[in-house]
């Protein structure tokens, strides 16, 4: 695992961009005609959605690499991506609820994308729970990767099933579909969360790698060519 400062700069840059974009979007961008100020949550909601799904996609690739290449480094990165992805998706659901209550009068309106996200929070959160109950780091790595691949493969099916299930009941709407976006704060926030996410995944991966080092005995020195040839019964 690298030890440089790049992830921390990334987090700092991301936080600054997010602050800039959010201030602009919340206080200075023009209000939306029909929804009013409530729609402003979109400036955070849409970037969170993009980056949440991106984090989980990154987790999927780390899982594939972990199974393919072996070793525990890719597993540490997988742990980082899973955690950041679950956090972002949880925030996404919370933002969705915050928007839905004043808009529809209910906390949850079963929008297919948000509902799929909720299912993903449970699916990937479950993998994080699984990791707590497996003591052997190698098994933990293999199982997390397997579970992450299966969960990711499930995403499109979950989405379609929820969409069909909900299709007869109500108009689909989220802050993004309803409103016309004023692009700049949105883009700035998108990059902000992207830098934040990448930095946090890297930092979290390092933490995981350090914990792994602590869990395992250090490697043995390379084997001395064996002197114990039993045909002669020589002492090693």
């Amino acid at each position: 695992m690298p030890r440089g400062k790049l992830p921390y700069y990334s987090v700092a840059l991301g936080a600054l961009l997010l602050l800039w974009g959010s201030t602009w979007g919340l206080f200075f961008a023009p209000a939306e005609t029909y929804m009013g100020d409530v729609q402003r949550i979109m400036y955070v909601h849409v970037p969170t959605a993009w980056n949440g799904m991106l984090a989980l996609t990154i987790a999927f690739f780390f899982a594939v690499l972990s199974l393919w290449k072996g070793g525990l480094d890719w597993d540490a990165r997988l742990e980082g991506a899973l955690e950041v992805g679950v956090v972002l998706c949880t925030l996404l659901c919370m933002q969705g609820a915050i928007w839905a209550k004043p808009t529809w009068g209910v906390w949850w309106d079963w929008d297919p994308r948000l509902t799929t996200t909720a299912v993903l929070v449970f699916a990937f959160g479950g993998i994080l729970a699984l990791r707590q109950f497996v003591d052997d780091p190698v098994k933990r790595a293999t199982w997390s990767a397997v579970a992450a691949i299966i969960a990711f493969a499930d995403v499109p099916i979950v989405y379609f099933s929820v969409r069909w299930w909900n299709s007869l009941h109500q108009v689909q709407s989220t802050p993004a579909t309803v409103s016309r976006a004023f692009h700049w704060p949105l883009r700035i926030n998108a990059f902000g969360i992207l830098f934040l996410m990448s930095g946090l995944i890297a930092v979290r991966a390092r933490l995981a790698a350090l914990r792994r080092e602590d869990e395992l005995a250090p490697p043995l020195p390379a084997a001395v060519p064996h002197g114990a040839s039993l045909a002669q019964g020589v002492r090693p």
């Binding site: 005995a217 043995l220 001395v224």
Partner: protein, 229 residues
């Protein structure tokens, strides 16, 4: 064929397996000629069982290399499995099924001839109770069944992890008989045991493990008692 041309039954170099912060097997190197009977001895927790399990591919190899009958332990695991039979601490049995049914299952997977099951049940002395569920078997009977299962595999390398443990005197004699027969057939046997005198009489070579390392190796009859070497 001169001895140097023979493919060793076991050729291990720096074999190691860790559990968390502890190396259970901490760099074991062995070269065992085919047909040898090797005694593996050491205190509880010295790594005997883990070593046998790693060689049988039941447990992964964390460090080091090994070849069993010429097949690489890391990359040719299935080929190794065809050469090796392990009689370990797990009986590998289905408790709800009878002794005969358990053997039949293994027989079908191995593709062995149909009469082998009856022959083996008879040999290990379980023919009379072959149709009872394993659940009601005593520890000694389970051991006999596990022995039958290991013999069914017709392996070139037989790994026995403290097999005398639950056996009665008749069981002892059975196992000794079996080991004699396996030697006549040129099968390599690794016998992990605490019964030092018995092992010295039965085996050709011996190694002693301590903390996962080989601390002594040589002819079995020269094996010193623990605490004297």
């Amino acid at each position: 064929m001169s001895p140097q041309d023979e493919v060793p039954a076991i050729d291990a170099s720096g074999v190691a397996r860790r559990f968390g912060r502890r190396w259970a097997v901490a760099g074991v190197s062995l070269r065992v000629r085919p047909g040898t009977r090797l005694m593996v001895t050491g205190r509880n927790g010295s790594g005997k069982s883990t070593l046998l399990r790693v060689l049988a591919t039941a447990s992964r190899l964390d460090q080091g290399e090994a070849r069993i009958a010429g097949f690489d332990l890391r990359t040719e695991r299935n080929a190794v499995r065809r050469q090796v039979a392990l009689l370990g601490h797990h009986s590998y049995q289905y408790e709800a099924l009878t002794a005969r049914e358990n053997l039949e299952i293994s027989r079908r997977f191995l593709g062995a001839p149909a009469d082998r099951v009856e022959a083996l049940l008879s040999e290990v002395g379980l023919l009379a109770r072959a149709d009872e569920p394993v659940l009601v078997f005593s520890a000694g009977m389970r051991k006999r069944l596990a022995l039958a299962r290991a013999l069914l595999q017709d392996a070139r390398v037989l790994l026995l992890d403290e097999p005398y443990g639950e056996l009665d005197p008749a069981g002892f004699a059975l196992l000794d008989r079996v080991l004699g027969e396996q030697q006549r057939r040129g099968v390599t046997v690794l016998l992990a045991t605490h019964l030092l005198d018995h092992g010295r009489a039965l085996c050709d070579e011996a190694i002693a493990l301590e903390e996962g390392r080989v601390i002594w190796s040589g002819p079995a009859r020269d094996l010193p008692d623990p605490g004297t070497a």
